[in-house]
């Protein structure tokens, strides 16, 4: 599973970091990045939660 952040859509709300701090972080420009584009299986569930929580739909999962 891969996760992609649309950084131009991201509003820096921090919800993804709150649910999956291992994977997401907010950079100095105020937008989120994913540390692991390829998400380790143990974090897959929290990444799905982050996708569902993101208020602007800036996160997308690409299943492989």
């Amino acid at each position: 599973m891969k996760v992609v952040v649309d950084r131009s859509a991201c509003q820096g709300t921090g919800l993804c970091v709150a649910v999956a701090a291992e994977v997401f972080e907010i950079e100095d420009d105020g937008a989120a990045i994913a540390h692991h584009e390829l998400v380790p299986a143990e974090w897959a569930q929290s990444v799905r939660e982050a996708v569902s929580a993101c208020p602007v739909g800036a996160l997308r999962i690409v299943e492989d």
């Binding site: 509003q11 820096g12 709300t13 921090g14 919800l15 970091v17 709150a18 701090a21 972080e25 907010i26 100095d28 105020g30 939660e49 569902s52 929580a53 208020p55 602007v56 739909g57």
Partner: protein, 399 residues
Amino acid sequence: MLVVGASIAGVRAVQALRRQGYEGTLRLVGDEDVPAYRRPELSKRFLAGDLSVDQIALATPADLDCDVLLNARATRLEVADQRVWIGDAGADPRPYRFDGLVIATGAHARRLRVPPMAGVHVLRTHQDAELLRAELATSPRVVVVGGGLIGCEVAATCRSLGLAVTIVEPTGALMSGAIGREVGARITELQSGHGVDVCVNCGVTELRGGNRVESVVTSGGREIAADVVVVGIGSEPNTSWLAGSGLPPATGVLCAPNLAVVGARRAVGAGDVVAWKSSGSARPVRMEHWENAVRQAETAAHTLLLGESAPGFDGTGGLFWSHQFDATLHVLGDPRAADEVRFLEDDPGRQRAVACYARDGRVMAFALLNSADWLGSAGRLVRQRAAMPLHGTGEPLRR
């Protein structure tokens, strides 16, 4: 299964029911005229610009596999018969039987108890925002009544548009209800620093004017000229349709720790409408933010599918955010007025603050002003209920 309320909590509940394996029929009923949209944008970019409602539509998968009824209002719940009466597009209400019900009817804006007057607004729906936005185009003097999250965001948006803005707030600091006085003082500074006239310790005693509002009179006797007044004094849960259902009286729909509705079979609640009784606390709480609606929807769906034995909702790690001017505020956990507040970082020059809220020697919440780099570690400390004092504050604590 029937989901009443077609905003974030309702839509996420539908998605969660499907994801968790429910294969039967699903109906989502909402009384607004458009599909779900991102309500937090109403005080931010939607108010500032010329976005249309479609541009703030909630991203939802195309294959929800759900029958959606818009312009349709639930008017009555019959607990014993497991029926909800629904009036579809103005037609007479008809009963719908359910095997499972999600109550996600959210809240509406509280209004001042004054006779209706042109120029006086609240902000909850896209129509509210469109009406307000249309008036902002005429360069009015804006007075915001109530310095909570929505009031502060409206003030920031209006000020950024170049308008003269005053906030009238009864407590000693902006947003003090949500984040306490100490951190609220930082928001007060932020707003004043951008030229908003912030009037704290100031109640509203009167709105003056004829057909249209002309001024706001404060408890201190000040009369503030106003072309537009925005009232942001909190919300009330949308429970009028539940009158007569026999559900226990509460401010909101009283729900058990796992979000099962108290006093009804096969019903759960999610989002702003819920008065949640956690297993630990004596009093039910209403949590009114986006992330709470999303997570409650997930738990509520689970409870509906699993039944009474479903595990409780985890209310410890909540988060809300706010954008005001170029600043971002993140609040994690549950700050209370009586908490001891410690600033781990405080840099007024850069409008940066990291505040930790402790109760009985344990970390209960964090407020981060322009400090998103703290989100990860603050979230961890709140979930762990870490013991105070935190040793080695600053750099080593982060990440």
